[in-house]
């Protein structure tokens, strides 16, 4: 069905909902690369005006990616919660934006609404929102998850400690973990991107992280960011696995390029649950996503990258993940060209995830061939902190020496806590105080060379 909008004497025509959504998207290089972006600034706004008039319920009957061809569409449609959707079922996309910003949309109302929101609805309304709208509404959304601590409580922000090493050297990884803990990081997860995919190497790394967590009784969880099938294999060998990781995308074909489908994710989820390693909850999955992944796999079905990104959160949702993050600037400038596009995408992704009830964090990051720098990252992390982001990354000095990109650092989270008053996950905050690492107010204490944690340091053990 075609969509039309008149501006003065000019009639803008959009062939279908998919084209309308693409042309209503704020400008970004990935949609231009795909050849689906608006051809002019006026067409972009005409599409938004037209989209504002579309009833939300249209997204339940007009699929952007065909139902028959795609299991993600089938998941979204077949599991849609009509009762949760009922309060907004009569609204257009434009009315929905007004509702979300209004006093009526309280945290409790939004939490009840989440199962009724499809990714296409979330993406559509986000296209009508300014950055401040994305921040305001996301801040009202509460998504709380638990494994060995409680993540997502109001006024808190967690940090993934990311101690990567170019050759998976255990001593180097241990040094980075200790550095991060002493800077008060690691409540979201201690999560390593391994360079290797060999099961024996991965098993040793998992034991290393588990050993540190057990030795110091740290209320947090470990994770190795390796393929879900590898995690299942490692679990079957009896190695301690807290969280199972997988990168996911918003179409069946893109997920196939990652070597997964929903059945494989279910297998990974069940394997992790079977270990019962959580102490305060059983959210056992960790997912990563990022705009552009479907196009780069040539699996985008002509749909804009931001809508496909929201569909990735629909893939995550049934598995009740502890953590999901959008790796917002990682793929490169052909998808998000500069700091402005990266900042907008980070806020969109966070908003869509939270509206859908997913615990969204953000890898606030960029590569050296993008038109971005640390100032852009400062802006995005500050905006996301204001928006109530679930967690950010903590990487020594912002420089990931394994993945060759720049993300947020141990210092950056200190800055955000200081300027925005954000606290850590409560169990982890208590542990930091007991260990003498942080004061009760969360500020770091100066440390001597004899801090107990340093007894775990390679080559320094007494």
């Amino acid at each position: 069905m075609a969509y039309r909008h008149m501006i003065g004497a000019r009639s803008w025509v959009f062939a279908d909902l998919r084209e309308l959504m693409a042309k209503a998207t704020p400008p970004r290089s990935g949609d231009m690369l795909a050849g689906i972006a608006a051809a002019s600034a006026e067409e972009n706004v005409a599409a938004r005006m037209c989209l504002a008039e579309v009833p939300l319920a249209t997204f339940l009957t007009e699929a952007l990616v065909p139902y028959e061809a795609d299991e993600v569409t089938r998941l979204v449609i077949d599991t849609h919660d009509a009762a949760a959707f009922a309060p907004v079922a009569h609204l257009t996309v434009g009315d929905f934006r007004d509702f979300l910003l209004s006093e009526r949309a309280t945290p409790a109302v939004l939490a009840a609404l989440a199962p009724g929101i499809t990714p296409e609805m979330a993406a559509a309304v986000s296209k009508l929102m300014r950055n401040q709208d994305l921040i305001m509404v996301a801040k009202k959304c509460r998504v709380v998850t638990r494994f060995r601590n409680t993540i997502g409580l109001p006024g808190t922000m967690a940090v993934r400690l990311q101690p990567n090493h170019p050759t998976d050297d255990p001593a180097g990884i241990t040094a980075a973990i200790l550095d991060g803990l002493l800077y008060g990081c690691g409540d979201a997860v201690i999560g390593i991107n391994p360079a290797s995919d060999s099961v024996p190497v991965l098993s040793e790394l998992l034991k290393l992280v588990d050993g540190i967590i057990q030795r110091f009784d740290i209320p947090t969880q470990g994770c190795l960011l390796t393929h879900v099938t590898t995690s299942v294999e490692v679990i079957n060998r009896g190695v301690p696995v807290d969280l199972v990781f997988q990168s996911v995308a918003g179409t069946q074909a893109a997920n196939a390029s990652f070597g997964i489908d929903l059945a494989v994710l279910k297998e990974g989820h069940e394997a992790a649950l079977s270990l019962k390693r959580g102490t305060v909850g059983d959210n056992v999955m960790y997912f990563e996503t990022g705009q552009g992944s479907a196009l780069s796999a040539n699996a985008h079905h002509g749909v804009d990258q931001q809508t496909l990104e929201a569909r990735a959160y629909a893939v995550c949702r049934p598995f009740r993940p502890l953590l999901v993050n959008t790796v917002v600037g990682f793929i490169g400038p052909e998808y998000l060209y500069d700091g402005k596009q990266i900042i907008r995408a980070g806020l969109e992704d966070h908003f869509c995830g939270k509206l859908m009830g997913v615990p969204l964090g953000c890898d606030v990051c960029y590569t050296n061939h993008a038109e971005a720098d640390q100032d852009d990252m400062d802006t995005l992390m500050t905006l996301l902190g204001a928006a109530g982001v679930t967690y950010i990354m903590g990487i020594p000095g912002s420089d990931d020496v394994m993945l060759n990109y720049q993300s947020t650092s141990f210092h950056d989270q200190l800055y955000l806590r200081e300027v925005l008053g954000l606290r850590r996950a409560p169990e982890f905050a208590r542990w930091l105080t007991e260990m003498g690492i942080a004061e009760a107010d969360g500020r770091l204490r100066p440390q001597g060379a004899n801090h107990p944690l340093l007894a775990a340091a390679p080559g320094l053990a007494a």
Binding site: G172, G332, A449, A457, L460
Partner: protein, 306 residues
């Protein structure tokens, strides 16, 4: 992927931020082991600084309040500037071609279909195809003497780091030339390609009728590695090959994989690729098994060449 080790010399953390125990005196009022607030500096130095030697990661940087000490901010800025420059420094293809010609190779320079750096970064598809002029140049070469089709086409592509090519291409090819002679492989002219991505080699290799193409490409620069060279090997190159059909040796640079070792590994993969008539996921790099104390075994040059 070849497991290249990268140890990026990380200067001792906190260099220059605070004089350590200046003058050999502790302030008399401090009796605990707290390492902070030496003299009147507001910089907190981390007591675990010696761990920094265990990883190239930027650990134990110290802090001022919640922020980074000035010296760290500047050190990071310099690394980012070098990485940015590696991407945007104009590619001196004529100079590189002259250097390669100096090794005894024939050379030819071409451009991709991307007409500028900005377009190249936004449109990876254009960087994977030759310009019309470049295609005509290579096809003319091939038609000149089809019987002389090379075993191996060599492509030198600026990729995402022209700096990497400026620094590494000639010395690497000098090391690799010896391996070419050792194995008696015939190469065509070295094709020096501007605004070029790895897959451009598919079209080049096909135009030259080569059995294999080797692309030397400037890798996406990391903050601590702005000049890293990547080597991509593809059997039976033709437009449309996927990355799963290639083998890659990465992190070729001074602090990573040496030119000699990279040349040895590439020759090992080429030998296997030509014998087994494939590259990609089915061809695993097992050249490490032949290393002697971590170094490439010596050349076995044919008598005529030695």
């Amino acid at each position: 992927m070849s497991g290249a080790t990268g140890t990026n010399g990380t200067p001792a953390a906190g260099d220059g931020t605070t004089p350590e125990n200046a003058g050999g005196r502790e302030p008399p009022e401090r009796r605990d082991d707290s390492p902070v607030h030496r003299d009147d500096s507001p910089v907190h130095r981390d007591s675990w600084r010696r761990l920094a030697g265990l990883t190239p990661a930027r650990i134990a940087l110290g802090r001022v309040g919640a922020g980074l000490p000035t010296a760290e901010v500047l050190r990071f800025s310099l690394a980012h500037a070098q990485a940015r420059d590696a991407v945007h420094t104009p590619f001196e293809s004529a100079t590189v071609a002259a250097g390669i010609a100096g090794l005894g190779f024939e050379t030819v320079t071409v451009s991709s279909a991307a007409t500028g750096r900005d377009i190249y970064l936004r449109r990876p598809d254009l960087g994977r195809r030759l310009s019309a002029e470049g295609r005509a140049t290579l096809e003319a070469l091939h038609q000149g003497d089809p019987a002389a089709a090379p075993d191996i086409a060599l492509v030198v592509a600026d990729g995402l780091s022209s700096t990497a090519i400026h620094v590494q291409a000639v010395p690497f090819l000098a090391a690799f030339r010896a391996r070419l002679v050792e194995n008696g492989w015939r190469t065509g002219p070295v094709v020096v390609a501007s605004q070029a991505r790895v897959a451009l080699g598919d079209e080049v290799g096909a135009a030259l009728g080569a059995r294999c193409v080797v692309v030397l490409v400037g890798e996406r620069p990391g903050l601590s590695s702005p000049d890293s060279l990547g080597l991509y090997l593809t059997f039976e190159p033709k437009v449309g090959r996927t990355d799963a059909e290639r083998n890659c040796i990465s992190n070729v640079r001074g602090e990573g994989l040496s030119h000699d070792l990279a040349a040895f590994k590439l020759a090992w993969l080429l030998k296997e690729a030509l014998a087994r008539r494939l590259t990609g996921v089915q061809l695993k790099d097992e050249s490490d098994l032949l290393l002697v104390a971590g170094r490439a075994p010596p050349l076995r040059l044919p008598e005529a060449a030695s």
